[in-house]
Amino acid sequence: MVDSLAQFVDMGGYAAYVWSSYSITLIVIAGNIVWPMVRYRQIRRRIQNGDYDD
């Protein structure tokens, strides 16, 4: 169990390694969520405009 927030953030001196790993993971997962959302909106707009080209 961690005693303080500062100690938690410091990760026993490994802060740069631990937090960069977690940040990259978050970014990659977020990207995988955002892509279908953006694509869905784009598809809806194009189909409503009758634009079926690839």
Partner: protein, 245 residues
């Protein structure tokens, strides 16, 4: 092919059913992942050798497991696409590949970041790391091949075949730490004599892994539905779905 499979593979039916299933993957996935990561970052004790750096395990190991599970799913749908020529399976191949590649990338990058303070090197060409890198290239080749061919059905068949051939790499990655002398440590969870990792560290890992798996399923489903919508853009059911928001 069984009747239920035929029914499920019909695009409008699948789109509707998967839309109902999706939140049941997303929410439990996110909650379990956050619980597992919280327990791993806060509750689990530091490792006696690696200190707090070992906490990278909670994203590295689930990502690595999913890179393999994802590829197995890719090869399975590829097989179904080749044998039964199911349109849905053909699209699933190209829905799984980018998500699988993402998690393979994460396994490699977080492993590299973990390796630097522990091994003193970002990268070594040992059997585990090399075979995992090949896995990333396989995923990327499946995507590239698919993008390079104009006809969607030919593209799907070509990339399915490539996915199927590449599956040979999956057992190689899994057993690489047994067959070769690797700097990468051996398996600590799936062992004949039970996990060698302490329970207080193992439980958060299993929770996080379950969360990651559900999330992976959701990400694939999400992508698959959007790809399906575009592929079927000239059908009436798509018009109907889009008109209703």
């Amino acid at each position: 092919m069984p009747r239920w499979m035929h029914k499920l593979a019909s695009p409008p039916y699948f789109y509707r059913t998967s839309g109902k299933l999706a939140p049941w993957l997303a929410w439990p996935g996110v909650v379990l992942m956050l619980c597992g990561l919280y327990a791993g970052l806060v509750l689990a004790p530091p490792d006696y050798q690696q200190g707090d750096a070992f906490r990278i395990i909670y994203i590295h190991v689930p990502s690595a497991w999913l890179s393999l599970m994802g590829y197995s799913a890719l090869a399975t749908t590829g097989f179904i696409a080749l044998v039964w020529r199911l349109k849905l399976a053909e699209i699933a191949v190209i829905a799984i590949a980018p998500v699988g590649a993402s998690f393979t990338f994460l396994a490699l990058v977080t492993g590299s970041i973990w390796g630097k303070p522990m091994w003193g090197a970002w990268w070594v060409w040992d059997a585990r790391l090399t075979s995992e890198l090949i896995l990333l290239f396989l995923y990327l080749s499946v995507i590239a091949l698919h993008n390079a061919i104009e006809s969607p059905r030919t593209a799907a068949r070509a990339s399915s075949l490539l996915a199927l051939v590449g599956v040979i790499n999956v057992p190689i990655i899994h057993y690489s730490v047994v067959w070769w002398k690797t700097l990468h440590q051996g398996s600590t969870v799936f062992r004949m004599d039970g996990p060698s990792i302490e329970t207080a560290m193992l439980v958060p890992l299993l929770i996080a892994a379950l969360g990651f798996t559900l999330l992976f399923g959701w990400l694939v489903l999400w992508r698959l539905r959007v790809l399906l919508l575009w592929r079927e853009r000239r059908s009436r059911w798509v018009q109907r779905v889009l008109a209703h928001g």
